[in-house]
């Protein structure tokens, strides 16, 4: 059975293997053991609930096959995008250039460097074994985060954001990067991306160009890629749109990919989420649900079939109860697939 749970140090080599298998760009998951280990350590603290609950925290989850103990994916949540530092985006806006006298009026698209999304809830670090990409596991891994947030709402901003991978080719060339960031960072896209994941945030504020970028000055390809997602992110986008997320005015300052935003309370998961007391039983049939044990520190989430009815108790399959570590009378929450 596939279960989402907090990551631990034991996962380190598995995560590294996973990052090598997939070529998705996961800036928040550094291909560097020390940094990765640091990230798991921060996540440990976050799940442990130590420290000021108002301070930025970063959670990392693992998708594990409980039969083989194999790790098949990761996903994460930052309570505060930017973790206390500016979270940089470009905000796609327009300036109106109009002359009364000459009777000219045009709207010029322009990218403003923005910190506006700083401090929102950020979904990140999503990666999954390629063979599971077209299965329910994808949805489990992605949406499990919303179930975790639902159980811990006071720790999260209700505005949730996701950075979607922008367009770059097999060789790692990114037209948007080449037209914008590269001129200031003097690095190719992959190197810049790598630094982003392993270096402190300081270099971002040191290097990022502060003046707005007039879109008409960009080459055609870079312009065309603004707010466009990489094909590899199609599934992610679809899922998020169904959740009620939508494209915002913000794009990634590196690859120009879109930032999707959604309100937690208006998300499909939250709107359909129910919480009841579990009664482990032999259940047959029913609809598929994401089911979580609602635990802050020892969170578990999996997919199972349930037959929902009236009343404050719900029967759950025995193996699900075991996987979620749930006893009779414990609360579970669930949302339909």
């Amino acid at each position: 059975m596939l279960v989402v749970r907090p990551s631990t140090f034991v996962d380190l080599p598995s995560i590294e293997r996973l990052l090598n298998e997939t070529d998705a760009r996961v800036t928040t998951l550094p291909k560097d053991r020390d940094k990765l280990s640091e990230k798991i350590s921060r996540s440990d603290d976050a799940f442990g609930g130590s420290g000021d609950p108002d301070k930025p925290a970063s959670f990392l989850f693992a998708l594990e096959d409980t039969e083989t103990n194999e790790l098949h994916g990761t996903c994460g949540i930052d309570t505060h995008a930017g973790s206390g530092y500016p979270f940089f985006n470009y905000r796609l806006d327009e300036v109106v250039h109009a002359s009364h006298h000459l009777d000219i009026s045009s709207r010029v698209p322009i990218l403003f460097l923005s910190h506006e999304l700083t401090g929102k809830t950020l979904l990140q670090s999503f990666t999954i074994t390629p063979s599971l990409k077209d299965t329910d596991a994808f949805e489990l891994l992605s949406r499990a985060r919303l179930l975790y947030i639902a159980a811990q709402q006071e720790r999260f901003n209700s505005e949730v954001i996701v950075e979607i991978q922008g367009i770059f080719n097999e060789k790692g060339d990114c037209a948007f990067w080449d037209a914008v960031g590269r001129k200031f960072f003097d690095l190719d896209f992959l190197t810049a991306d790598y630094y982003c994941s392993v270096k402190s945030k300081t270099f971002m504020s040191e290097l990022i160009p502060q003046h707005p970028v007039y879109v008409p000055l960009l080459p055609d390809e870079a312009r065309a890629n603004i707010a466009k997602n990489h094909e590899a992110a199609n599934r992610t986008c679809q899922l998020l749109y169904r959740e009620g997320f939508s494209q915002s005015k913000f794009i990634d300052p590196f690859d120009g990919g879109p930032v999707l935003t959604g309100n937690l309370h208006q998300s499909y998961t939250m709107r359909t989420l129910k919480s009841k007391k579990a009664k482990p039983s032999n259940v047959i049939g029913g609809l598929k649900y994401l089911i979580s044990n609602q635990s802050a520190s020892d969170f578990r989430c999996t997919i199972g079939t349930l037959v929902d009815g009236i009343g404050e108790t719900i029967r759950i399959p025995l193996e699900i109860a075991e996987a979620l570590n749930v006893q009779e009378g414990d609360s579970i929450s669930y949302s339909p697939l």
Binding site: S99, H101, L102, I104, K183, T202, L207, L217
Partner: protein, 348 residues
């Protein structure tokens, strides 16, 4: 040939010049009303009824034989006074991170009004049939004599804006890469509108944020601070007088602005006062001897005059003029005039 201020009855002459100047010289529009206004402005500058900072002094190069107007040049007392004067300031942005070993200097264009209040070497046009015979030199450099004679009427610094690079079809790569996106018109149209003094549209249409030079086309980048090939001689003349590029360029074609402190201009600094001695033996000016000529001004104001004479006419504190020369300059024996070598000495 001599230089004098324009006069009330010069309108027809000016219109002929304007007609001949073509579209390249935006400050001389082929439009009688505009030229009338230009003339008025100069007349009220020379009769001092106009406030000092709002004056434009227009000078004509006259042919004493035919009484024809051969050319025109101007000095602007202060730019940006009743309109807004725009330039791009060519600055630097440095992006550096010791953390990842990057240190990058990026040229950046800042929309700027910094030159507001400077004086300006303005309009110059010489009729084609008068080119040669030092007429261009006389016309252009006579202005430094006026600056030397009346520094109190000008700012500390004076600038000249040089026509920027455009190709043989009149296309400006800088305009194509930048201005066109905002102005939705051809370079020549934009240029014409500003020439007419219509600058409100610049404030309305200009991009207001700084422009990182690497975001422009390669061709545009290369033309920043570069003059039009036809303007190179004018630039060389200014440089020889001590003008230097001041890191401001034109917002349309990125042509350079050059500037100097008035007191440091070669002709101002080196010019001296002389007492006039009249003599029929005054040496004739040899217009073929580039370095054998002196600019001489009569130090008048509303009857200002400048001519070229032979260097040999000057000696310690006094200068020998012929009757004819003195008549043109409107000076007598004993009058004080200002003189300086027309050109800087070569080995300077």
């Amino acid at each position: 040939m001599y230089i004098r201020p324009v006069q009330p009855d010069d309108l027809d002459n000016l219109c002929i010049l304007a007609k001949n100047s073509g579209v390249g010289v935006t400050s001389l529009p082929d439009n009688k009303q505009k030229m009338q206004a230009k003339l008025e402005r100069s007349l009220t500058s020379f009769d001092k009824t106009r406030p000092v900072h709002d004056r434009q002094y227009l000078f004509a190069l006259m042919d004493e034989k035919t009484n024809a107007m051969a050319g025109i040049c101007a000095l602007e007392a202060a730019i940006g006074h009743d309109e807004v004067w725009y330039n791009y300031h060519v600055g630097k942005s440095v992006h550096a991170s010791s953390d990842i070993g990057v240190h990058k200097v990026t040229q950046t264009l800042y929309l700027s009004n910094d030159l507001t209040g400077s004086s300006e070497i303005a309009t110059l046009f010489l009729m084609p049939e008068y080119r040669g015979n030092q007429n261009g030199q006389l016309l252009s450099r006579s202005r430094y004599m006026f600056l030397a004679d009346f520094p109190e009427l000008f700012g500390e610094s004076i600038i000249a804006e040089m026509r920027g690079y455009s190709d043989e079809n009149g296309n400006s790569p800088f305009w194509e890469s930048l201005g066109r996106h905002f102005f939705q018109m051809e370079f020549s149209d934009a240029d014409y509108l500003t020439g007419l003094g219509n600058k409100a549209f610049i404030a309305e249409l200009m991009p207001k944020f700084p422009i990182y030079v690497p975001m422009l086309s390669q061709a545009a980048q290369e033309t920043i601070g570069k003059v039009h090939p036809q303007t190179e001689p004018a630039l060389a003349m200014l440089m020889s007088e001590g003008f230097e590029f001041n890191n401001y360029v034109d917002i349309f074609d990125a042509g350079p602005s050059v500037s100097a402190k008035i007191k440091d201009i070669r002709a101002v600094k080196e010019s001296k006062l002389f007492n006039v001695a009249l003599s029929e033996n005054a040496p004739e000016a040899d217009l073929t001897d580039k370095h054998g000529l002196l600019l001489v001004s009569n130090r008048g104001f509303e009857d200002y005059r400048v001519i070229l004479i032979n260097k040999a006419a000057a000696s310690d504190g006094s200068i020998v003029l012929s009757k004819a020369q003195a008549n043109i300059l409107n000076v007598q024996e004993g009058s004080q005039v200002r003189a300086v070598s027309l050109r800087p000495t070569e080995n300077k």
